[in-house]
Symmetry: C2
Subunit: 110 residues, 2 copies
DNA sequence: GCTGGGGCGTCTACATTGTAGGCTAGAGTG
DNA sequence: CACTCTAGCCTACAATGTAGACGCCCCAGC
């Protein structure tokens, strides 16, 4: 059997948000990325819990780093999506696309 | 019963599969649609449980109907996505798109 | 350098969603 | 009538989503 497991809905959002930030994926920035793009609030608990679970699954990794554009000198976590995480994201995306194919007329209207 | 903002990953798949079948959305056909397009197995339990939960939330509705292309004479359920269900699907889709914007280069490669 | 405030990350706890497989009932077949 | 087949139900549990309280560390003010 193939890796049948799909990512959860929020997990996908987090991975996408990290990718959006490219090299600037400090936790808080990632969180704000989700909040502004998806127009929803993200509690710290929800955010870090999901991040930690994905770390355990090997989908994300992080390293301590000094933020450049802040007066704050402390180290912060800079996240990145691993190759496995990217693969899982693609698998979910592919499945979703295959199921959406040909439905644009139904889904676009408003 | 808090009106959760976003649909789960499997819920989205089920809604999309129903839409794919248009007027022929008998339960079994919907299930096969998911299995073939998403390349995964869907147990009856998982399928009907999700369907029932979405019925309770008002995202899908069904009516008994006689299938046309079968020798079986019994009535079967024909499902449809309600206006609310479609709205929820669009909301999830929009959020996902906003988060994916500009990442095609990262996501497409293989 | 002690202390208070605020941002960063953890922990606990619970709600919602995802999943499998056994069970039941009713229709077809002999 | 038993005998099979299968659509849909029920139970049970795993995984994911979510919030808020808590603790720690850095900086500013004393």
């Amino acid at each position: 059997m193939s890796p049948n497991q799909f990512l959860g809905e929020f997990e996908q959002m987090v991975l996408l948000a990290i990718l959006q930030r490219r090299d600037e994926a400090f936790a808080l920035e990632v969180r704000r990325e989700i909040e502004s793009r998806a127009e929803r609030t993200v509690s710290r608990g929800a955010f870090y819990t999901t991040l930690q679970r994905m770390e355990e699954k090997g989908y994300v990794a992080w390293s301590e780093d000094e933020p450049t554009d802040r007066h704050r000198s402390g180290m912060l976590r800079r996240y990145e999506v691993t190759a496995e995480g990217l693969g899982a994201l693609r698998a979910s995306r592919d499945a979703f696309r295959a199921l959406s194919r040909g439905l644009d007329d139904v889904l676009e209207a408003s």
